[in-house]
Amino acid sequence: MSKTRIGFIGVGGIANRHLAVLEQFPDVELAGFADPDFNRAVDAASRFGARAYSDHQSLLDDPTLDAVYICIPPFAHGDAERAVIARGLPFFVEKPISLDLGVAEELALAVEQAGLVTGVGYHWRYKDTVEEARQRLAERPAQLVSGYWLDSTPPPQWWWRMDRSGGQMVEQTTHIIDLARYLVSEVTQVFGLASHLDREAFPGLDVPTASTASLRFASGAVGNLASTSLLNWSHRVGLHLFGDGIALELSDHDIMVDVGAGRPVLHAQSDPVFKEDRDFIDAVRGETNSIRCSYDEALKTHRVALAINQSIREGRAINMSGG
């Protein structure tokens, strides 16, 4: 069995989430790791007998790579993807795909022209609870949607800065936006509001500490999103959907479906990242492409998140064109 040789650009927290999965695949070899923090690259490489690099171009000079994982912070996207696309390599990239819509659109076009297999880390699509919701909603589509990301402030300081992370809607709640698109339909109109509370423990933090958005969907459904990073714990992360005689509550680990006969809860049974990575590797190996979120698909979600930020800035509703 020939092994699919994977290179990593960026070896931070989320990369380790994928590594814990990929190292279980017998048909994958982790071949190289690039990180501006060379020590971090070496630490990852020495787990797998791989090579370490301090920049992505040196990694991409390895002619034996089959695909690349790009796990870099929101503000860093652009050059790495361009170089990977120029090499004609399939890639998996973590969300959010960029802070600059222009860059994301340029990359989406380049991916399409190169005909590359891509995957983006909107892993909620791979939850078995989301499968359950999809089946239930096929019969009774959602008319009202209510999404939440009510959580603590992530420790990395880049997250605190609007010009580094894009704020909570773009960095975290984007998962819920993607899920709403996946379970309901395209978003056609957004209106966002935000507020900011200065806190001593977070000097220089300039992202909204509370934000909300109203959404209109192509299907006729309406909804809202609520985000805050003011808590010292994870309070609620999920999406609630309501249709004709059905209420669904999806959290990151279970689903409750109420059709008027109690409130039965189903717990998630499988690791969505495992299925997500498996689908990507299968597609790279030329087997069936079952990837649930390609770069192009992720771009649609990202447009909604950025439109909410725009609405917050401009104080008006934004109509989404082309949806």
Binding site: N39, V42, S46, G49, A52
Partner: protein, 367 residues
């Protein structure tokens, strides 16, 4: 895709062995997909970081978790595992794990056979049953190992890579406060009794009587430091003999020097002497076995071990005939190039790998 080769050690402190693995790995990197594997302790991790920086693949081994090590090795098959042993009792488990995983096993012995306990000797013999080929890094190591096993043994001399200086001779001499017409005599050696610094200090007065501008520069650390320092003071040589301690800029010091001196009482195959030869610096050595192996028995500036008068004569002769000394430096460089270069070591090692892998392949198709 290139054939993978794994260079591995389980040494507690892979200093010299680690240097050798880095040099060999870099030399082999054009031909093979080289992965350097070392224990995940501090010294091993530091070696892995250097290996990664030179572009080699790296693997940290948790030796307390044999299942994990065996699992990783099994994943690498078919390939060749090259185990580096600083001393006889090292690398036994790695040899066995590798063999069980179906890998071809080559073992390099870096020291002569020194095992005296019958239990260790028996364990060593048992381990050798899993080895497909052995490499000795010097004649002395070869001689002491050749009758220990029927497993193939070849002599592949240690190689060193010439590192060019990064500052000019004048800059370095200025930094050392050595005048342009001073004679700078450099010794790079661990400060241990084996290296014979005491003999050099004893020889110094006679040399200074002839060449008042001679400056002795001693590089290295070790247990004899205080003793050597005291003997320098006692002889009133502080103006002409300086101790620099550990230095990372040996190529710059070599470039600044007029003569390299290695006064050793005995030697394996001295890398510092090979580095001096690689830099074309004229050398004075003793007739210690490993030094002779490096510089050749026909070298004109050889002293008897432990004999200060003989050492003094050899140094005075070299300083007296700068043109001939320079010619000898060039000759030593050619000898280094032919016998002790990294490229030569890597090429001979690659040939040995191919013969082992070929044999394995032949065995594979027959079975």
């Amino acid at each position: 895709m290139k054939q993978r080769i794994i260079l591995v050690t389980d040494s507690e402190e892979p200093s010299g062995v680690g240097e050798h693995m880095l040099t060999l790995g870099s030399g082999l990197a054009d031909t093979y997909d080289v992965v350097l594997a070392a224990p995940d302790h501090e010294a091993g991790t530091s070696l892995l970081h250097r290996a990664a920086a030179s572009g080699l693949g790296v693997k940290a081994l948790d030796l307390l978790n044999p299942r994990q090590v065996r699992g990783w090795l099994a994943d690498q098959a078919p390939t060749l595992l090259h185990v580096h042993a600083g001393i006889g009792w090292e690398g036994h488990d790695l040899v066995r794990y590798g063999k069980a995983a179906g890998l071809a096993i080559v073992r390099t012995e870096h020291l002569p056979y020194l095992l005296t306990s019958p239990i260790q000797q028996a364990a060593y013999r048992a381990m050798l049953l899993s080895v497909d080929g052995r490499i000795a890094v010097s004649q002395a190591v070869y001689d002491s190992h050749k009758d220990r096993s029927s497993a193939r043994l070849v002599l592949i001399h240690n190689g060193v890579t010439h590192r060019p200086p990064t500052v000019s001779r004048e800059q370095m001499r200025q930094a050392l406060a050595v005048a342009p017409d001073d004679r700078l005599l450099l010794t790079v050696a661990r400060l241990s009794p084996q290296k014979g610094h005491a003999v050099l200090v004893d020889a110094a007065p006679a040399i200074l009587a002839r060449f008042a501008n001679a400056k002795f520069v001693l590089v290295g650390t070790g247990p004899e430091r205080d003793k050597i320092s005291a003997s320098i003071s006692q002889a009133g040589l502080q103006q002409n003999v300086v101790m620099l301690g550990h230095r990372t800029d040996v190529p710059d010091l070599l470039a600044a020097a007029d003569l390299f001196i290695l006064p050793s009482l005995f030697e394996g195959l001295p890398l510092a002497l090979l580095e001096a030869m690689a830099s074309k610096l004229p050398v004075v050595a003793t007739t210690a076995g490993g030094s002779i192996e490096a510089i050749g028995s026909d070298h004109p500036y050889l002293a008897t071990q432990g004999d200060a008068a003989s050492l003094g004569d050899a140094i005075i002769a070299a300083l007296d005939q700068p043109d001939q000394a320079k010619a000898e430096g060039d000759k030593a460089f050619r000898r280094y190039n032919e016998r002790f270069s990294t490229a030569r070591m890597a090429a001979e090692t690659a040939n040995f790998y191919q013969s082992i892998l070929h044999k394995q392949g032949a065995r594979g198709t027959n079975s």
